[in-house]
Structure formats: C-alpha cells, structure tokens
C-alpha cells in the first residue's frame, strides 16, 4: 500500500505589486488544488503548512489553521453525529526539505489508516514588505493532495540525511535594528547564505542519493525523473555535473533573480505533471536540500 499524489497546484502573485500575503496566496493555491483534484474538502484528514516566511510572522494560530478556515475544511465538529471535526492542521518547518517531510508525515498517517486524504501546502513571502536584507526568495505557494492507494503505486520510501557540520551556510532570523532615531527602529529579516552553500548542497545531495540508491536497491539508470529543490541557485547544475544525468533533472525556468524556496520542488513537479511526463514515468526521485545541511530523498513508483 502506498500514498499517491492526487493533484499538485502552484501559484504566484497575480501582480507583482499586489499580494505579498503568504497566507492569502497559500489559501488560493489550496482551493485551486482541491477543485482540480475534485475531492470533497471535508475528506481532508490532515493539513500541513511547510512555508517558513509568513505574513507578518504570525506565531499563532498555525498558518495551517487559518488556511483550513479559508478553504472550509471541517471548520467545526460534526454536530449531527456529535463527532469531532475530522481535519487536524499544523505548521512544519524543515527548511527546503519541509515539503517532503510533510509528505512523509501524511504517508505515515495514511499507512496507519488515520487519514484517507491529506494536503501539504507551502508558501513563502517577505513577512513585512521591505523589511529584509538578502531575502532572495520568490513569493510563491504550492499545494499537494495525497490519498491512500490500494496497490503499490505512490511513495515507497523516504530518507533524510543530515550533515550538521555546516549550520552556518544558510541562516535567517528577524533581528531588531536599533537606531538612535526612534522612528527608524525596526525588526529586519536577515538572510545570510555563504558562497559555498550550493557546492555543499550538490556534494551532499549526490552522496545522499547514492546511499539511498544502495539502500533501496535502485540504480540511477532505472530512474526516469528527478524532482529537486529549486534553491540555492546553481546547485542543480552542479549536481547534474556530478551525477551526469542531465535530462532527468527537472529545473523550473526562473523568471527574474529570485529563487523558489519551500515551494520549489512542487513547481518542478507541476511542470512534469502538466505535460504528462510524471504519469508516464515509472521511477521518480524527489531530492530536496535545506539549511542545516539536510538532504531528503523519496522514491515514487508509478504503475503505468
């Protein structure tokens, strides 16, 4: 029994000068995903938000709860049958690997038959517009709906590899910018990425992928598609060079200088989902990298 993808949807702001609200954007993509998947929103058992940079840096409630309300998924207890509301939601942060970690949690809960459908949403935007330094992440959001499959189709294996010697390669925090003049004092989001980060991501991703292949008994030549993270800039090119299978890696065409962060792998997936390459492929690898440095790898099997 596996966990299969029902639908993936992505969204960017309609106008560059308008919505920078990560919550609205994520809710929009979640609604779109439900409509495209043609499922009943009340069938969602779990909703996980894996976005990191959130509108006004909301601490509570979880952004997932706000999105649950906006899409109208079991917002209340079932008063007729006197049963508890069926949807549980929370936020998860695991950097660039968060989206895949969210999917793994859904898979675990589906195997234990606690839920039949689950959704992982993610969205990043500058928390306070204009109050950041080196925030090179594009405002974008994505949603994916998974369901329990009766056969072997779907995600078969997940593995996360940690390389904790490099916690300083990518860091971000909101710090208080103390100024003499009171009106100029503000909280600023600082993102710091070292030049060596893409190289290290590529190196460790290759190492992790090789270990994953050995553990799962797969060979790189059996893999039809590799769906990677879309940040940091340049890491996909480097990893392609090491592995040498250029055509298998899905790279989302960048529009401008900013990178896709937690929604990156979903945008790559959407690209091959739309042109049917995903459904016509048998073995698909999801390869995500994130600060820490963490590498998460998952295998998806399609029964063609």
């Amino acid at each position: 029994m596996g966990t299969k993808i029902e639908m993936v949807s992505v969204a960017e702001p309609w106008f560059n000068f308008l919505p920078r609200n990560s919550i609205e954007l994520t809710a929009r993509v979640a609604r779109k995903c439900i409509n495209e998947a043609r499922i009943n929103v009340n069938d969602l058992g779990l909703l996980i938000n894996t976005g990191i940079y959130r509108y006004k840096n909301f601490g509570e409630p979880a952004i997932a709860a706000l999105i649950q309300k906006k899409i109208g998924a079991n917002t209340n207890n079932d008063t007729e049958s006197n049963r508890p509301g069926k949807t549980f939601s929370f936020d998860l942060n695991n950097g660039g690997c968060g989206w895949l970690t969210g999917i793994q949690i859904l898979q675990e809960l589906m195997i234990s038959k606690k839920i039949n459908y689950g959704m992982v949403v993610t969205g990043d935007a500058e928390p306070f517009y204009g109050l950041s330094e080196n925030f090179n992440f594009k405002t974008a959001a994505a949603a994916i709906i998974l369901s329990r499959s009766k056969d072997s189709e779907g995600f078969t294996q997940f593995k996360t590899y940690s390389y904790p010697d490099h916690p300083e390669e990518l860091t971000s925090s909101i710090n208080y910018n103390y100024q003499r003049q009171k009106s100029k004092r503000k909280n600023i989001l600082y993102v710091r990425q070292k030049d060596t980060y893409p190289d290290l991501c590529a190196m460790y991703a290759c190492e992790s992928l090789n270990s994953f292949m050995d553990e799962s008994g797969l060979k790189i030549k059996d893999i039809d598609l590799i769906i990677p993270s879309q940040s940091p800039d340049g890491w996909i090119r480097k990893v392609k060079k090491i592995i040498g299978s250029n055509d298998k890696f899905i790279e989302y065409q960048k529009n401008g200088k900013k990178m896709l962060h937690t929604a990156g792998p979903a945008f790559a997936l959407k690209q091959v989902w739309s042109d049917n390459r995903f459904k016509s492929s048998k073995h698909i690898i999801f390869l995500t990298v994130g600060s820490g440095i963490n590498v998460s790898v998952a295998h998806y099997f399609n029964q063609n």
Partner: protein
C-alpha cells in the same frame, strides 16, 4: 508490526528570575485588575534574564531530560522542536536552520532526524501525536520532543497597551517562560500511550492571534479569552468522549486530568462542565499555575515533570492530557503511568 509507545523521561528548565502578579499589575493603573492574581491563580511567573532565550531553555530542558533517561543523546532517532517562540540571542526570531537541528548539534544527537513544528500551545502535544505514529509504524525507536518558550516578552507589549480590564491583551499577563522536553520510546508492553486524538476547529481561528511586532522587539498576542474558553470547553466534549471510548476507560477512571494551564477559574469551570456532562469526575484535576503561570506549549510536560518529582503519581495511574490552543486545536492524550515514576525516585 504495530509497536507500542510510551513516555520514557521528562525534563524541564525554568528561569531563575521571577515576577509576581502583584508587581506586574501594579504597572497598570486599572483598579479591577488588582484581582487578576486571584482569578488566574498565578502568584508569580518565571521570566528569562540576559543570556536566556527559547534556545537555551530548550537545550537545558533536553539535558535535564537526558539526565533522567536511560538513553544518551546519540541514541535519539528523531528530534521535534515544538515551540511557538524561536528566540536565539535575545529576541531575535530564528528561522533557518531549524531549532531542532541546532538542538541536535548542541546535545550531540548525531543520528537524529530533525524538524520543527508549530501549533500554538498544542505544539508539544502535536509532537507526541507525530512521534507516536512514527514509533508505532516502526520507523524510529526514540523521539525527543522539545520546546523552549521565551514568551513573557509578550507581556511587555501588553503592559504598554492595556487600558481597560476588557483588553484583548489581558491574557498576555498570564504567560511565563519555560523549557520542557520528553523522550518517547518504543515499548513492548501495553503500559504507556493509550490513545491520542486531535482536531482543529478552524471556525474559531481568529479568537487568539499572536505575531511579530513591526517596530519593537518581540511580539504581541490578542485573545478573546472568554469566547475561546467557552468554545474550547463545549466543543471538546465529542473529542474527550471519543478518546475515552477508544481507550475503554470511563471519565471517573482518569486518575489525573491535566488540562492546558491558562487560569484557575477557567480550569475549574471547565472541569465542572465536564462533571455535569459526563455525570462523573476524574480523581484529580491538576492545576499548576501558582509559581509558573501559563508556559504556552510546555504546560502539560512542566506539570508532569513537577508532579513526577514531587512523587505524586503512582504506577498505573491513568493520565489524561487535554490541550486547548489557538486554532482552535483540541487534543487529548491518554496514557498509563508506568516505570517512569521510579526514574523520578518514587519507590511505590
């Protein structure tokens, strides 16, 4: 194979510095707030001093937890950080890498997979829900759930803004700082975690919100405390009922009911509502507010830690942890006290 899961050890860390409710409300010039301490049952709360923050509280709590545990840091398979506040280096809110990854490095848990979750005051309980599932599936053997809450900074904002006793920021004055950690492990016997059930009733998600300040350090919280309390109590009945049914226990077989620690008056009125509804009452309702206040996501584990150290629990006691958090999240965890009591010096 479906494994069982149990809480193996619990640790906590409270800052040394105290602020009494009398001191706090004296800063407000509102007469009816003078009874705040009486209503909430909070005499004082612990607050961070210079050099302390969410991260230091979390790591200290983990080290305390490990001191009671049979496991070493390198035996931990997974670390889930569950705090709302992620302050490191004063009031700097940290995003990346995750807090869990930093804690892993700090304690030397080199084999652990890490991630952070955020689910308001239900954070640690959500961690239990996830860890239980990973352990039952056989994916991991041990999971460390940790949270460090440097949340008292919210009360500074409240003190500047409260004008009347009806202020939405009044509940910010109940908050205190704390770190808590728990190790969950795979178990081969039936003693341990019996059931966990959670739901988010997002209809009420606007009743309590907290976010970052734009121009001053820290954040602020606004809550319609009475409304959220009424909704939480009335809406929790089906969840508690369901959990009791799954566990095969009746309400009067619960030895200790440990609700989310907000204020004495709301806990007492909630317990009375349950007694009226179920026609039965648990043997004890635990209130742990007097010296620590509401410590957000850590309240349940801080209460468990305190009562374990005071040797108040007995082997075989049925414990019900009941969480209410903004969202509105309602969650129930029922477990049986087991040999963990011996680890805290209780020989009975």
């Amino acid at each position: 194979m479906d494994w069982k899961c149990q809480i193996e050890s619990i640790g906590a860390k409270l800052p040394e510095k105290k602020i009494s409710t009398i001191e706090l409300v004296a800063k407000l010039n509102i007469p009816c707030i003078k009874k705040f301490g009486l209503l909430t049952g909070i005499k004082e709360r612990k607050v961070c001093s210079a050099g302390e923050d969410s991260f230091s509280l979390a790591t200290d709590a983990v080290n305390d937890c490990l001191s009671f545990s049979k496991y070493r840091a390198e035996d931990i398979d997974m670390i889930i950080n569950c705090s709302i506040t992620k302050y490191k280096g004063g009031l700097s809110h940290h995003f990346e890498p995750t807090f869990a990854a930093l804690i892993k490095n700090a304690i030397g848990a080199k084999n652990a997979v890490t991630f952070d979750i955020s689910n308001a005051c239900a954070g640690m309980m959500t961690g239990v829900y996830l860890a239980e599932n990973f352990i039952r599936q056989g994916m991991i053997k041990t999971c460390l759930i940790v949270s460090g809450e440097y949340i008292s900074s919210i009360s500074d904002h409240a003190l500047r803004n409260i004008r009347t006793s009806l202020s939405k920021e009044l509940s910010s004055l109940t908050l205190g700082d704390c770190g808590a950690a728990a190790i969950l492990e795979r178990s081969e016997n039936n003693n341990g975690l019996i059931v966990s059930g959670f739901t988010t009733l997002s209809k009420y998600s606007g009743l309590c919100t907290a976010r970052q300040n734009r121009k001053t350090p820290g954040g602020f919280m606004k809550a319609k405390a009475k409304k959220i309390h009424q909704a939480a109590i009335s809406e929790s009945i089906p969840i508690v009922h369901n959990a009791l049914k799954k566990s095969g226990l009746s309400f009067n077989q619960i030895s200790w009911l440990i609700p989310h620690q907000t204020s004495r008056s709301s806990i007492v009125s909630g317990a009375n509502f349950y007694v009226e509804h179920f026609g039965q009452k648990p043997k004890q309702v635990l209130i742990n507010l007097k010296d620590t206040g509401n410590t957000a996501s850590t309240t349940h584990f801080l209460a468990l830690y305190k009562y374990l150290n005071e040797k108040r629990f007995r082997d075989g006691d049925n414990i019900m942890l009941l969480c209410f958090a903004s969202g509105l999240i309602i969650g129930v965890v029922i477990f049986k006290m087991n040999e963990i009591v011996c680890r805290y010096g209780n020989k009975n």
